[in-house]
């Protein structure tokens, strides 16, 4: 290759790098922005709407609290089974995405006051005649999202008690994949938190079977253990929000009543 051509190519590349890097450094300091980690496939709590915007019950709650407490937030979709390490590593500052408060999680993160109570529900294909008794007896192939309380419930109550072989629990990377496989009848049942499960089976040939499993779980907002300032701000914000008429309005809007 011609040497002069080479040199000019290098110069052009260097200039591009220079322009791009100055573009990056020109952000002006503002009120501190915190990164909120969410499961972006978790309607109605946190999801991406058809226009590509982050939305949901938890997302709007977070925005309200942030505005009230005077800080900025951005939302970062994060893999659910890695969301606690992401918080610990400082990639995100807050987890506000329908996270159930559990003792195991409490060892790693601080939880806010609980803001919702939920239970687990089971969905099956309309064409199958599976009942909750079949499910409880461990006779079904069950799909769940990895790292969710639904998957943990099956492990503790069906596998560890010997009712069901471990390989009959199929764990997926995200919940839409569980629902896809249930619609193909590759698995017999799917277990998930009730409200998002309702959302997920809409327009699919699937139904929820009753009764729900009363796990009496409570959702909380998680922050790093040493981040007491943030915990206080979240708790204060959550308390105000739950007393505000906007709380009921949000519940109504996302069908949580």
């Amino acid at each position: 290759m011609n040497q002069r051509y080479c040199i000019s190519l290098v110069v052009v590349l260097l200039m591009t790098v220079l322009v791009l890097s100055t573009g990056c450094t020109s952000t002006t300091p503002q009120a501190k922005t915190y990164v909120v980690g969410i499961d972006a496939e978790y309607p109605p709590y946190s999801y991406i709407d058809p226009d590509g915007n982050v939305t949901g019950f938890d997302v709007e709650s977070m925005r309200w609290i942030a505005a009230k407490e005077g800080f900025n937030v951005t939302f970062q979709p994060t893999a659910w089974d890695g969301i606690i390490p992401a918080l610990q590593a400082g990639k995100i500052d807050i987890i506000y995405s329908g996270m159930t408060i559990t003792d195991e999680r409490r060892e790693k993160v601080s939880f806010s006051i609980p803001y919702l109570k939920i239970n687990q529900s089971v969905a099956v294909h309309k064409e199958g005649n599976y009942t909750m008794d079949d499910f409880m007896a461990g006779g079904l192939i069950i799909g769940a999202q990895r790292g969710t309380t639904g998957a943990i419930w099956v492990e503790e109550n069906l596998i560890e008690t010997g009712k069901m072989p471990a390989e009959n629990l199929k764990v997926y990377d995200n919940f839409p994949l569980v629902i896809t496989d249930l619609a193909f009848k590759r698995i017999d049942a799917a277990i998930y938190d009730r409200p998002p499960l309702l959302d997920a089976i809409a327009d699919k040939p699937l139904v929820i079977i009753d009764p729900q499993i009363d796990t009496h779980e409570e959702y909380g907002v998680a922050v790093r253990k040493d981040d007491t300032l943030m915990l206080d701000a979240i708790n204060k914000g959550l308390s105000s929000l739950m007393q505000d008429p906007y709380w009921e309005e949000l519940k109504q809007k996302y069908g949580l009543i």
């Binding site: 195991e104 790693k108 990895r146 943990i152 199929k170 764990v171 997926y172 990377d173 496989d181």
Partner: protein, 221 residues
């Protein structure tokens, strides 16, 4: 939880089960990947115009398609046309298709390195085209392709971890499950890394001996 109990009671049993699945995936994929790879390289090199183009298109398609996407098509896409594969079968098929495409390129390179003079000489002795390929070209080409093929085999060991995206609980999937449940990410992923390193090191050493064993004394490259 004391670390010793965690490692012996939870981590090692889980990873051993995962390792068995990983080995099953590799053992079922690699031979067919090699055979299909040989077939494709021969088709491309010696097949007629049509066969050659089909093989070429296949390689372009597979090389251009991320393996994860290929696996998703096989597992989540095919049921809509009535083919429902198990997660394990979909993984093995995906690995074979991918492995074969890359293998075929290594083998084709090795075939091209066998000098034309040998083919001409063999034909002059009255050998048919198929005899030339089988008796003269392939024995040399496959030997020369060993370093490249071993590379691809090592990739296969590592990309077999993608099967866990299809719910197959192989080595890395088993590790991830334990890590998620006990929040012991560092310990688990270091352990998983060590197992993969051991698998790859074993393969590298084995290939080294294979190369020595099949070397033809006096064959000049």
């Amino acid at each position: 939880m004391e670390p010793a109990g965690f490692i012996t009671d939870i981590l090692i049993p889980a990873l051993s089960q995962g390792l068995v699945v990983t080995l099953q995936l590799i053992v079922l994929s690699a031979p067919f990947g090699l055979l299909l790879g040989i077939g494709i390289s021969l088709g491309r090199q010696y097949g007629g115009k049509n066969l050659s183009n089909i093989c070429k298109l296949y390689v372009i398609f597979i090389k251009g398609c991320p393996l994860l996407l290929l696996l998703f098509i096989l597992y989540f896409g095919l049921p809509s046309v009535g083919i429902t594969l198990t997660a394990f079968a979909a993984s093995v098929i995906g690995f074979i298709l991918c492995n074969a495409a890359y293998n075929s390129e290594y083998i084709r390179g090795a075939i091209l390195s066998v000098k034309d003079g040998q083919t001409i000489a063999a034909q002059a002795l009255g050998m048919t085209k198929w005899q030339v390929i089988r008796e003269v070209v392939l024995p040399q080409a496959l030997r020369r392709a060993i370093p490249g093929l071993s590379n691809e085999f090592i990739y296969l060991i590592k990309y077999s971890s993608l099967a866990y995206m299809l719910t197959v609980i192989e080595l890395s999937g088993a590790g991830k499950l334990v890590a998620t449940k006990y929040f012991a990410y560092n310990e688990v992923f270091i352990a998983v890394g060590i197992v993969y390193l051991a698998l790859v090191t074993f393969t590298t050493v084995a290939v080294h001996y294979l190369e020595k064993r099949v070397a033809v004394p006096g064959m000049i490259h």
